[in-house]
Structures are given as structure tokens and as C-alpha cells.
Symmetry: C2
Subunit: 372 residues, 2 copies
DNA sequence: AAGCTATATGTAATCGATTACAAGCAGCCT
DNA sequence: AGGCTGCTTGTAATCGATTACATATAGCTT
């Protein structure tokens, strides 16, 4: 038996389960063949196998073929951990997502995954809103031994988490997408939220609305702030009233949209149109109104923000500001990968702003005769 | 300077950027301190540092404190790659998701992430429907050097991908969730799809419907098949007609629901109720009908499947079969982790079936006077 | 023929932890 | 005193690849 010649007793091959070592003891197969085993099977050194795999052009054709044949026959699969240790990188990126259950992020993730996987990176996701995701826990994800880079979709994380530039254990490159931490020195991919909000307001104005309300996101969120600011600016620019009671607090959720609808119903003087800072809130708003016997856009016009999948199939189809969600994720991944390639040289943070557009559908229409 | 006493020239500390080696050459800081550096700072061996970190009770209190202080002062963070290599595991699980953009999966993912992260596992996601995710590419994710286990949410993957039991490079433990490959020998977490479908049909029957149609998922999908089968069985059991033209083909998407609506409209004899195999199709169905001037449940009752977030806020609120999405993900993760802990001993595959329940809302009501 | 270059390959150090094994030491028992 | 036990700690092997450096060979130039 050829196997008996093998002096190293943990030689492994693809099909057999057991071998006999030099003492003829039946030993369990190590199971996973190593580069060593391939080298032996091909009659070359491990260095040559390694080169044949990662830089085929430097080995002769004959050797290359022998190596590939040995890989096939042994069923060898590279051990990524060992490679990563030696190369001091992980070929992985971590994505910090606030609330994975929110469908808004699923397309962003899809965009990230697409670009990252094509470039050979694994995508590791972490939900920052889970109870176990406390600061200490999250901190461990920011280690360069975990990932070569980070994409952060949560602007509500404590800045302190990221304040480690230049210190030991250095922070890997970070790119923010969608949300970001105001004033932080990181690259970001974002949309022009203020401009999007302004588009919504101008659209309503163009339809004839003069009394326009707004349902905003959670306090302290950059998206809330920028959309709110865009809303106010556009209202002011158009000479429309900015009335405190027409601004409703939400948190981007369906539920909070429904609550805003109740608040709207409770008003003496109601705005004839409402711009919601998220589609989910817009749907919740319209849905609640419908339960109370009101109809959109007959009784009030509604514009959303995001253009989630359901928007065009809502009743009525939702007029909204479309965010290129997939493209945002893809751009963030590309930016991060570029940044990782640039080495440790602290490149200045870049900001990429993607265009939004208004998807005019049926939930916004000219104000009814009852309106002012 | 104390630094000049250090003979190993790549000593590193937390704050300074540069050191001088034994030749007094200014060298770049290695940046990330290693366990070696901690050991030196604490005046102990690396073995002791390692023990203090991973099994604190075996080192004396004095030493432990010294080590922790050294960790703090050096800013040491463990290198997971090195640890994983030595321990021959990755502390990561891979989740194979069909179409990340589908919000249905986001809650499943959230459940997985929650359990996995609490147990110290990273979650790596792969979108199996991306163009780059060909069989060869996916194969590399099934390597045990990539992850300690796999959760597969895509039942349409080729079985061949998983047929490596006992061969070299062995497949790590696999758990299917939601979908699965018929006849494959893996553990699964699923719901009783047939029972769920039967609940929907019986609910409609209870409301008085005698003519019930069905919009099914993509052909060949196990969910499609089991729900279809449950539908047929319930119809037969109740003595209701099973008419070929009342069964519409869909693919779970909003769009396909809308198409089914057009098909329904084109019928001479229309069923008074339609059970859709997904909420997305139900929404698309209702939405399309609404565009054509029809109203649910006045003109037709609709029941969905899944209970996605928007369901209760749809117009009308959608009657649907609720799947515990978060719990499915959590159960899959728990099962996988248990399986990984059980070692390589091939435990028999287990099947966990989670209960579904009917969420009766407004989209299904007794048939109108016009109906038979 | 000597010397040089280019190509292909092998040897062994290296990445940074964990852990088997050995050993030191204090306390206790006989 | 000698031996035993239990508690700490250190030494060095190990995980499985990559890669710097050395070396061998062939082909070419002068």
C-alpha cells in the first residue's frame, strides 16, 4: 500500500476515512488536506503549490498542471484563516446596520454585498440595535483583525466608538452610508436629503397646495434634520406658512405614521398635504386615515421618502422621493474598497452624494374644493 | 529613555508613533500590539496572558490584574485570525439568502443575527441570486475554513453543492430554514406550510366563500408546493371546487400578484376569494384591482401569507397567515449552534416546525350579494 | 569558457495566537 | 526529611498558509 510509505502520520487524502500511521495504528483521517498534502501529491514544495494557486503565471505549465491535478485529487481547499493570518488581512468587511428588520436596509445591503462579493470580500453584518450590541460589544467589531473595513449605516452610534485614529490597534477604514455622525471625519455616501425634501414640497406646491405639513423622523437623526431643514427652507422660499402644529414627530416607522395621522385628524386647521420623511410613515399615515374613513388624495395629499418596493403598489400608489438604495450600498462598498487599497496613508475623507428623484404617483393631487 | 532598553525592535505601545531600534533607526510603529507586547509589559509569558484572557480563573489574581493593566496600557486587541487558526474554527456562520432585497428575509436575518451574535458568532451573508454567485463561487463559502456552520434560506440551490459529506474538506454543519431542498439530509426549521394554507382556506370557507382561487409561488419551490398542496387538500376536504383556471402562477413578488389580478379580472366566472401564497402577491393583487376600480373585500376577498410589516397597514389591512419570522431565524441559529457543538458525530437531522396562526383582518369578508 | 540574466523552484521564517507539557513552589501528611 | 498534591507559570510546538531569500538550471552574450 502506498499509504504505508508515508512517514508523516497525518497525511490525508480525499476518499479514505482511515489510515495507518508508522506504528500501524488506525488513525482518524485529519479530514481536511493541507497545502502540504497537495505538495506531496504533486511532488513539489508547498511554496510552489501556493504560487500555483495565487500567482499561476510564475510556475511552469507542467508544474501548474501537476499542482491542479493534485488539488483535484486531494480535494484540497485553501484554509483562509491561515492565509489571512499570514497576509494580515481578513478579506471581510463589517456592515453596522441599525435594525436589520427594517426593509429599507435590505436593498442597501444587497448593493453592498454585490460589490463586495465581486471584489472577493465577505460581508459580515451586525445589528446595532440588538440588546447585546452594547458599546463594548460593538467595539470588538471595529478591530482590524475582524475586518479590513467597515460600512456604517447607523448615525446614532457614539462617536467615541470611532475615535481611535492613529492609536494602537488602529481602526480600519470606515465609510458611512445613508446616515452618518455629524462632524465625523469619515467618508460618506449619501443623498441630498434637503434637496429631496425640497422636491417633495415644490411638487405639492406645484399641485396647488399652500398648507403643507411634515412628519419627521426621530430627533437627533441626521436624516431627520436634513429633511426637516430642506422642508423648512423650501416652504420659506415658496412663501408658504411654517406652522408648528403642522410638524409631527415620527420615527420613520409605520406605527409613527399612523400616530401622525391621528394628530392630523385632531387639528382644527389641517394642512391639505403632508410630506412624510419616510415611505413607511407615509403608508402608516394613509392607512390610519383610511381606517378613519378618510381618503388620500381626496382629503389630503401625501408624499413619502425612499420609494420602497411597496410604494408603487400602495393604495393609492405613493408619490415619493426615490433613493437609489442599491446604488448607495454599491457606492459605499466601492468607496470602502478603494480606501482599503489606498493603504494606511490617511486619505482625506470623500463625500459622495447620489441624486434623488421624485416619483410622482397618485397619493398627491391638487387640493380638493374644501381646502384653502 | 526606557524604550532604548528594549532589545526586540518591534516593541509597540499605545501612544507613540515611532521608536528607535537597536541601531537607533527610526522605525514605524508596528501599530497593533501583540500578545507578546502585553506579556512583556506585564512581566509574564504569553501563555499567561492568553490564559488571563480566555480562562481568567486559572491565573492568580495579582497576575490577572497585571495582565489586564498591561492590556489597557498597550491598547491590545486580540488577533482573531491567529486565534481561529490555532483553534481551527472561525466563530462565524454563513447565511445563504436568496435575494437580499426581499424584505421577507430581513426579519429572518435579524433573528439569526440576534442569536448568533449573543453566542459569539459573526454572521456572514451571501446573496445567492447575485450574478456573481455561481456554483463555483458559492462552493467556496461551504468550506469549513470560511465558517463553522451554514444557514441556508434558499431551497433552489443545486443539491450537488452540498454533497460532500465525509469527503475531504468536509462540509460544516448545515441548517435549512424557511425553504429547503426536498429529500436532503439536513436539519431544517420550517413552518407547516400546508397547515397554514389550510387555515387560510378554512377561514374563507367560514366566511361563506365557496369559490376560492389561489395564487402560488414559483414552480419547483418547496413553499409553493406545500402551500399549494395544503390549499388543494383543504378545498377537497371542504367539498369546494378545485378549478384549474382559479389557480394562478406567481413568484411571490408584488408584480406577480398584480398580474394574477389581471388574470382574475379576465375570467368569466371569478372566484369570490383568493388565497395568495405571499403577502407581497396579495398586496400586488389588491393594488392592481384597486387601479382597475375594484375594491377588496367588496369585490373579492384576499388572504395572504407571511404577515409582513406592511400587512396590518395595508388598505384594507391584510388578513394573512402569520409566520414567526424572527423566531424562525432564531431557531435556525440555535439549532446550528447546537449542531456545531455536537462535534463531527453525525447527529441525525432534526426538523423543527414552528406554528403559524391566522391574522384575521379586513381583506377577507363574507362574499357580496353578487357572488354565488 | 566565463559570466550574466531570467526563470523556476525549494528552504525556512513568519503571521499571532493557543495549549500540551514541564517545572517550580508552597503546603501538608506521614 | 521525603513525598505528594495542587496551584501557577513558563517553554516551545502548533495551527496552515505566504513569501523573502537562496539556489539551480538553461539560455545568451562576449
Amino acid at each position: 500500500m502506498i499509504w504505508d510509505d508515508i512517514s508523516v502520520n497525518h497525511f490525508s487524502a480525499s476518499i479514505k476515512y482511515f489510515f495507518r500511521d508508522s506504528n500501524n495504528i488506525r488513525t482518524l483521517d485529519r479530514k481536511t488536506p493541507r497545502i502540504q498534502d497537495v505538495a506531496r501529491a504533486a511532488g513539489v514544495s508547498t511554496a510552489t503549490v501556493s504560487r500555483a494557486i495565487s500567482n499561476p503565471s510564475v510556475v511552469s505549465e507542467a508544474t501548474r498542471n501537476a499542482v491542479f491535478e493534485a488539488i483535484r485529487s486531494t480535494g484540497y481547499q485553501i484554509n483562509l484563516t491561515a492565509r489571512n493570518l499570514r497576509q494580515r488581512r481578513t478579506r471581510a468587511i463589517v456592515v453596522l446596520v441599525p435594525n436589520l428588520g427594517n426593509p429599507f436596509f435590505s436593498h442597501i445591503l444587497a448593493g453592498i454585498e454585490q460589490v463586495a462579493a465581486s471584489a472577493g470580500f465577505s460581508v459580515l453584518i451586525v445589528d446595532t440595535k440588538q440588546p447585546h450590541a452594547n458599546e463594548g460589544q460593538l467595539f470588538t467589531y471595529l478591530s482590524s483583525s475582524r475586518a479590513d473595513g467597515l460600512i456604517v449605516l447607523d448615525g446614532s452610534l457614539p462617536v467615541a466608538l470611532f475615535e481611535r485614529r492613529g492609536t494602537a490597534g488602529g481602526l480600519p477604514p470606515v465609510v458611512f452610508a445613508c446616515e452618518w455622525i455629524a462632524g465625523s471625519p469619515f467618508s460618506k455616501v449619501m443623498i441630498d436629503n434637503a434637496a429631496g425634501a425640497a422636491m417633495a414640497i415644490r411638487h405639492l406646491h406645484g399641485l396647488g397646495h399652500r398648507c403643507i405639513g411634515h412628519v419627521s423622523g426621530p430627533r437627533g437623526n441626521v436624516l431627520t434634520d436634513t429633511r426637516l431643514q430642506g422642508t423648512r427652507a423650501a416652504l420659506a422660499e415658496l412663501g408658504l406658512p411654517v406652522r408648528r402644529e403642522w410638524f409631527f414627530d415620527g420615527d420613520f416607522s409605520l406605527q409613527s405614521g399612523a400616530e401622525a395621522a391621528r394628530a392630523w385628524l385632531a387639528l382644527d386647521e389641517r394642512p391639505t398635504a403632508v410630506f412624510c420623511a419616510s415611505d413607511q410613515m407615509a403608508c402608516g399615515f394613509i392607512s390610519q386615515l383610511s381606517m378613519e374613513g378618510y381618503t388620500v388624495p381626496r382629503d389630503v395629499s401625501v408624499v413619502g421618502f425612499d420609494d420602497i418596493d411597496i410604494a408603487r403598489h400602495f393604495i393609492p400608489p405613493l408619490t415619493t422621493v426615490r433613493q437609489p438604495r442599491n446604488a448607495i450600498g454599491a457606492a459605499a462598498a466601492r468607496l470602502l474598497i478603494a480606501q482599503m487599497g489606498a493603504g494606511t496613508a490617511d486619505a482625506p475623507p470623500v463625500e459622495e452624494v447620489l441624486a434623488v428623484e421624485l416619483a410622482a404617483r397618485r397619493s398627491a393631487a391638487p387640493p380638493g374644493p374644501a381646502a384653502g
